[in-house]
Structure formats: structure tokens, C-alpha cells
């Protein structure tokens, strides 16, 4: 018992040490950053608020993200939620269409040759360049924003899925050929599971791009949403609000990325992780 107890305590102390080791450096870095920020805004004659002033001015935003005063005057939680809803719709559509098209061009050499050049050109188009076109097509703000998300997120999903299909190990295909697996069984038992790691790589890149695109798109289309909130704050010279909103955007973006990769790690078997 005593031996076990001492061992456990040693493990615990070791656990705490490693925990501290990972925690202290970023905390120190943030502190230095804040101090620098404070010093610089105090010494130079800039419009930018110091961290202390930011907290004072935008306190309500930070401490109460859930207020709703009607119209666009809503707490940051609601603003972010609206943006997330758009991303969710656009990204889901992109995932469904992207995986389907990716499998298509991955399995068919002909389709790959036909479509790959088009995709290579389209994927380099910046997200916002699509906005006028989608506004012209949909005539409405919301579907246009969703379309921009869709068109931004779809390319990495298509290309990674196609790559995954083309990189299915020859061994698995040989197993399928020797067993003479039916098309349907081949798809569900071999092709799809083998491609999953690549699909998730595509999804992770896609979600990051979506979040980048939504902020920019919302600035232009207006209404509720974190993007327009920032633009609105600029117009009303609420610079402190902008800073708070940017912190929110950053944290949400990080969480989205971590969420997709977490799901990926749960779905993809250990052996198959893409190095």
C-alpha cells in the first residue's frame, strides 16, 4: 500500500510538473505581450486602446455575451452563433459534395483528367471574389454568405479525398480483386474507410478556410454575425469592441479546428493515421 501510495504521489507530482511546464511559458508570453501593448499604447499617440482601456470600455461585451437588445444589438455569443450557423450549413454542403466529387475523380482517371485543371484554377480564387457573383445569383444576403463558405471549403475536401482514393494501398485493392468484392462492398468496406484519414485532412483545412471567409463575407453583407459586428464597431469607432471580437474569432476558429481533428482521431483507426 505504502509503496503504491508513494508511487502515485510521485506520478502526481510528475504530472503537475509537466502540466506546469506546458502552462507557464504561454502565460508568461501573454503577460509580456499585454505589458508591451500597454506600454506602446501609453507612449505613442495612437487611436488603439491599451488593454486596460479595452477591458474598461468593452466590459459588457466580455462579461455578458448573451444580451439581446433586438436588431443587431446582440451579445457576442449570438453574433458568433449566427456566423457558426452559416458556416455549419455551408461547410456541411461542401463536405457532402466535396467527398462525392473527390471519390468520383479519385476512382476515374478520365474524370480526374477532365476536372482537375478546372479545380486547380478555381481553388486559387479568393473567397470574397465569389461574393458579388453569388449575390447576383441568389439576390439575398444569407444564401450568398453560405455559398461563399461552400465554395471556399470545397476545394481542399475534393482534392484531399481524391488523393486519398488514389492512394489506397495496392494491398487493399489486391485483397478486393482476389476476393472479387462487389462494387458496393468495395466502396463501404475498403474505399471509404481507407480514404477517411485524407477526408479529415481536407475537412480540417476546409473548416479553417470557412471561418476565415465568413468574417470577411459578413462584413460586406451586413446583418447579425461576428463579421458585421466588427465592421459595425469600426464604423462607430468602438475600437475596444473590435479587439474583443477578434479574440472571440480567434478562439472560435481554434475550437473549430480542434473539434474536427478530434472527431477525426476518433474515427480514423490508429494504424492509418496520415503521417
Amino acid at each position: 500500500m505504502t509503496v503504491q501510495a508513494t508511487q502515485r504521489s510521485r506520478f502526481n507530482s510528475q504530472g503537475i510538473t509537466t502540466y506546469l511546464k506546458t502552462l507557464i511559458p504561454p502565460v508568461v508570453a501573454i503577460a509580456i505581450f499585454l505589458i508591451l501593448w500597454q506600454v506602446l499604447t501609453m507612449t505613442t499617440g495612437t487611436l488603439l486602446p491599451s488593454p486596460v482601456r479595452t477591458v474598461q470600455e468593452a466590459g459588457d461585451l466580455i462579461f455578458d455575451p448573451f444580451f439581446d437588445n433586438g436588431g443587431t444589438a446582440k451579445g457576442l455569443f449570438w453574433q458568433v452563433l449566427t456566423s457558426l450557423r452559416r458556416v455549419a450549413i455551408g461547410f456541411t454542403l461542401a463536405a457532402i459534395v466535396g467527398v462525392a466529387v473527390g471519390v468520383l475523380i479519385g476512382t476515374s482517371e478520365l474524370m480526374f483528367r477532365a476536372l482537375d485543371p478546372i479545380f486547380q484554377v478555381l481553388r486559387t480564387v479568393p473567397p470574397l471574389a465569389w461574393l458579388p457573383l453569388s449575390l447576383a445569383a441568389f439576390q439575398q444576403a444569407n444564401p450568398s454568405a453560405i455559398f461563399v463558405i461552400f465554395i471556399t471549403a470545397i476545394w481542399p475536401i475534393i482534392l484531399n479525398t481524391a488523393e486519398g482514393v488514389r492512394r489506397i494501398p495496392q494491398d487493399y485493392n489486391n485483397v478486393a480483386r482476389v476476393l472479387k468484392l462487389s462494387k458496393q462492398k468495395y466502396f463501404f468496406k475498403i474505399l471509404f474507410p481507407a480514404t477517411v484519414p485524407y477526408i479529415f485532412t481536407g475537412l480540417r483545412i476546409g473548416i479553417g478556410l470557412s471561418w476565415l471567409a465568413i468574417v470577411a463575407a459578413e462584413m460586406l453583407i451586413g446583418g447579425v454575425g461576428i463579421g458585421f459586428f466588427i465592421w459595425d464597431a469600426w464604423n462607430s469607432s468602438r475600437v475596444s469592441d473590435i479587439i474583443v471580437a477578434i479574440v472571440y474569432v480567434g478562439i472560435v476558429g481554434l475550437l473549430l479546428d480542434r473539434l474536427v481533428s478530434y472527431i477525426g482521431s476518433k474515427v480514423v483507426p490508429e494504424e492509418q493515421k496520415v503521417g
Partner: protein, 666 residues
Amino acid sequence: MSVFVEIDHVDRVFALADGGQYVALKNIDLKIQKGEFVSLVGHSGCGKSTLLNILSGLDRPSTGGVILEGREVKGPGPDRMVVFQNYSLLPWLTVRENISLAVDEVLGTTPESERKEIIEQHINMVGLRHAADKLPGQISGGMKQRVAIARALAIRPKLLLLDEPFGALDALTRGGLQEQLMRICEESQVTCVMVTHDVDEALLLSDRVVLLTNGPEAHIGQIVDVPFPRPRHRMEVVNHPNYYGLRGEIVYFLNQQKRAKKRKAEPVVAVARNGLEKVNLDLGFIPLTDCAPMVIAKEKGFFERHGLTDVTLSREPSWKAIAEGVTSKRLDGAVMLAGLPIGLTLGMGNHSPLPMVSSIVLSRNGNAITFSKRLYDEGVRNLADFKGVIARSSDKVPTLGMVHPASMHNLMLRYWLASGDIDPDRDVSLTMIPPAQMVSNLKAGNIDGYCVGEPWNSRAIHEDLGFIMATDLDLWQGHVEKVLGVREDWANQYPQTHLSLIKALLEACEFCDDRRNREEVLEILCRPEYVGSDPIYTRPGLIDPYEFGGGMESKQLLRFNQFYVDHTNCPNRSESLWIMTQLARWGITAFPKNWIEVLERINRLDLYWEATRQLGLPQIEPNRHPFALFDGVTFDPDEPMEYLNSLPIRREVQIQEISLDSLVTA
């Protein structure tokens, strides 16, 4: 048994990126019986796996085809299941799901309950009940390979193909799995083809080991039959008296291939010097007392005296290796059995005829027939007694060893047996064993007797394992035994070199036959790089009185090893013709319709006379007249067919025109 799988003249050519071609496999021809276990062994990149893929249908041959039970293989299918090198389990399916994926797909028509039973039965068979619900990532490499084997066997393939199945496993796991695979294969009687690097694994598991040469243009170099009885156990196999012989044969083949690869990297150039076209010669010999002239020519400087300043002697494990070495141009020439140049020229063993030249005889006599102690105890003293033993024990056919089908040992043993009304193919079983392994096989009881050259008879006498039934002085005194054999194209390319070789060997033969030199000859022969035998049992016959064992008195046989005296060295076409009649008599080769032409091409007497003239030796040609062996039946060299037809016991004799000129390449 009928042919189950036939690989019919398969070539596989890959197109290269630069527009060229790479011929991976060339003319692979192999027939596999039902239930047989065949291993493919060769160096990396020799196309073993390509051949396996062609068998499975995953790859297609460029020419030729694979026929399974009379139908051509046109694509992959579950009747030819593969156990892949890296297991190829699907990592997202559990052990059970991996097996059931295969079973459900292939045996889809059988009721579900039955399929379930098959799956569970095979999981149990490979002992993975406890891991049935684990993912492949959670189990060890050995377990994964067991799953792969279970998956393959569960769908009941006609042919199981294994691609280095145990290559990635540690030695302990590998050993266990080999035994398991062997047991499973024996139980389910499945036909298997396995690719492996591991010689011991191949010997343990296979009925036949197919050795592939190096690529490009890899082909079957040799097929080794593995005669161990089944069911096998590792220790029994390893302790089998033939084990090390077979293992040595395979390792030798692989080493030759490795050397061939190196040689290709730095091709041997003929070094012309001393007025000769080529002074760097590789000459082969087999460790036997009568390799003496070659060894003495090297050690006593006869080669150097005639300008051959860079001669390497290559000790070969078997006559087969000698034949292969000369055919493949690895060797410039060799001390050969008298029948070997003739057999090669006539296209023995389904090879295409390879014209050979043999212009000097190196020794006469020197062989004996040894029978085992057991036969002695049964009262065998002569051929009639032996016939009585064969008649009494109808259930067991005595096995006798000989060294090569074209050897005088084989031909004279057969002649001797036939003279006693014993059919050498039906009443006894003749098996081919390299000379150096005769004694151990006799000791192990694999054979009941043999005919071989010295020191391998005297050694058996010395170890009290048997007794001498007859020496060849009793059967045919002064018969041709060992000759120098070279390819005809070699002889044409290097005529002066060939002549110097003959002259050096002639002088060496004279040296060896002088009894004053015999002690020195003995000392050199017993060196480990040559025969490496103990002088005690190398002396009888060569120096000391010959010992017969079995309580018989030893006798001084002055002509037992005859190297020079009495026209030893002059090739005698009548003897060669007699050999041809015997090769045809036992169906080893066809009898050449154009035998006069063939004889003149092989026994180039003009070269022999030129050599003796240059050495200033007397040029007396032995008389050409009919002769007879011990039984008094006269052989008339003008009427070989009549002689052949008069022999009582014989196989069906084939007569063929052997066209040699179409084959001569510049």
C-alpha cells in the same frame, strides 16, 4: 497424379519509362501436382513475387499462360487466394470481420449459420479466439499473419499462394507459424506455392524447391526435390541425412547467382599473354582421388610451364554443378565424367544439345561398388546373392547411389546389375547423390550401396559401413573414367590455350602415374582446398594395397588409378560410342543417327596428336577393335545398333539425328 497447375512458358516484360524493356521472367515452365507444396527461392529482384502475382492473376504474363485445372487463369479470383507479404488485413475491421468479409463474399451461397461456423472454426484453427474482436492494430505481427492465413484458408482456395509469409517476423514466431502452416496444409491437402528467402523454411515446408536465377530474364535454374517423409517435424527434418546435402545444394546455387551478378558487374576479360589467347582460366573439379592430374598441374607448375599463368581451380559440389558451370560459361573447362561431354552434346535432360570437346583422357579405372554391412550380413557376396535378397524382400526395393546419369558409375552399375538379370530401374532404385555424400547416406541407411570413385569407397570400408562388391578392374579394366571437357565454341575461340591445357595435363598425368611421386600426390590431394580427405582412407588403391572389407584380403592393384601408362590419355572413340549405346539403352539420351559425326566433334584426336607431337611423345594410336566387358559380350564399334538391340534388359531406345551446326554460335 495429374497436373494441377501448369505455368506454360511464361515471359513477363515490363515497359520502362525510357521506352526500353525489362524482361523480368523468361520462359518459366513449371508443372505443379495437386496437394504439392512448392517454394520459389532466389535473390531479391529475381521475379519471384512477379511469378506469384501471375499465378494469382493479379499480374498477366507477356507471353505464355497459367493453367489451373485445365482452364487458363485470366484474372484474380478466390480460388487462388494470396497471403500477402504485409498481411494486407483491413485495419478498420476486427479479426473476425476481416475473415468474414472474405467468407461472406466468396461463400455467399452457403447458409449464414454455416458461414459463421467456418469463420469461427478458422479463428480457432490459428488459435486467435481471444483476439477475435480486436483490430489488426492491436495485435502482433505474428498474429496478423495468422489472421491472413485463416482468411485465406477459410474461403477454401484450390491454390494457396504465400508471398514471403514469415519474412517480417522474429525467429521464434516464425518457427511456430511454419509448423502451424505445415500442419494446416497437410490436413487440408491444399496446393501451395510459397515465395521465400529462407532456405531452411523452404526445405522444411516444400516438396520441391524451385530456384530462380537472377533477373533480368530470370528463369528456373534448378529444381530441388525434398524427399523428407510427411508429416514432418522440424527436428526430424534437420537431422535427416539428406538435409545438409540439399541445403548445401540450394545455398551453392544462390552463391553462384550472387557471384554471377558480381561477374556481370565486372565481366571477365580474356587475358592474352605468352602467345596464348587466354591465360586466366577457371577450371572445375570434384573432390575425388582422380582429380589428381588437374590439381598436380596447378600445384607442380605444369600449367605455368605451358604459359597458363593464371589458372584458378574451382571445387564444385556435384557433377550437376560442373555441367551447369561449363554450360553457363562460368567455367572454362572441368575434369568431367567421360559420359558428361557426350551427354551434354546429345542434349541430356531435355536441354538443347551443347557441343562439347574432350581431347584428352585424364584417368582410367578408379571406381568400385560398395554394398552396405546389412547386405553383407544377409549373406550377399556376389550378384546372384543380391538377386536372391531382392526376390526375398519383395516389399522393399534396395536403393543404390550413383553420382550422375552420364557417369561411368551409373552406366557400369547398370550394366553389371543387368548382367545378373536385375533390372536397374525396376528391381532396384537408383538415386543420384554427390560423391562426397555417399558415405553419410550409407551410414544413415538411405541407400544400400553405391558406385563411386575413391576415396569414398575406402572411407566406408575404413568406417566399417560396408564392403566392396566389385572394382571396375573386375568389370572393365582400363575403361575411360575422367576426361577434360570444354565447350566446342570455347575450343574454337581459344585454340592455342586449349592446346596448352592439354599439354600441361598430359605432363601432369605422367607425373601422377609415377609411383615415386604418389606420396607427394597424396599429400597435395589431402589438402583441404582439394579433396580434403584423411590420408588413411585415401591411400588404398592410390599407394597402398586396396582394401575390400568384409574379411577379404587386401590386394595391391597397380592399375587401380591409371593416369598415363598404356595409352591412358588418348581419347578412344569406340569407348565413347559404347557410352552412347548405354545412355540410349537406359533412355538417358537418344542414340544419335549421325553418331560418327558426333564422335568426331567430341573426341578431337587431332588436338591430342598435336599436343603429343609438340611434347615429343611417341604417337601410337591404340588399335580400333571390338572389345568386351567382364561378361564377354563383344562390342563392335562398327555395329552399335546391333549391339544395342542384342542387350537383354533395356528401355525403349530412341534414335535421333542430333544437329550440332545449327547451334554453333560465333
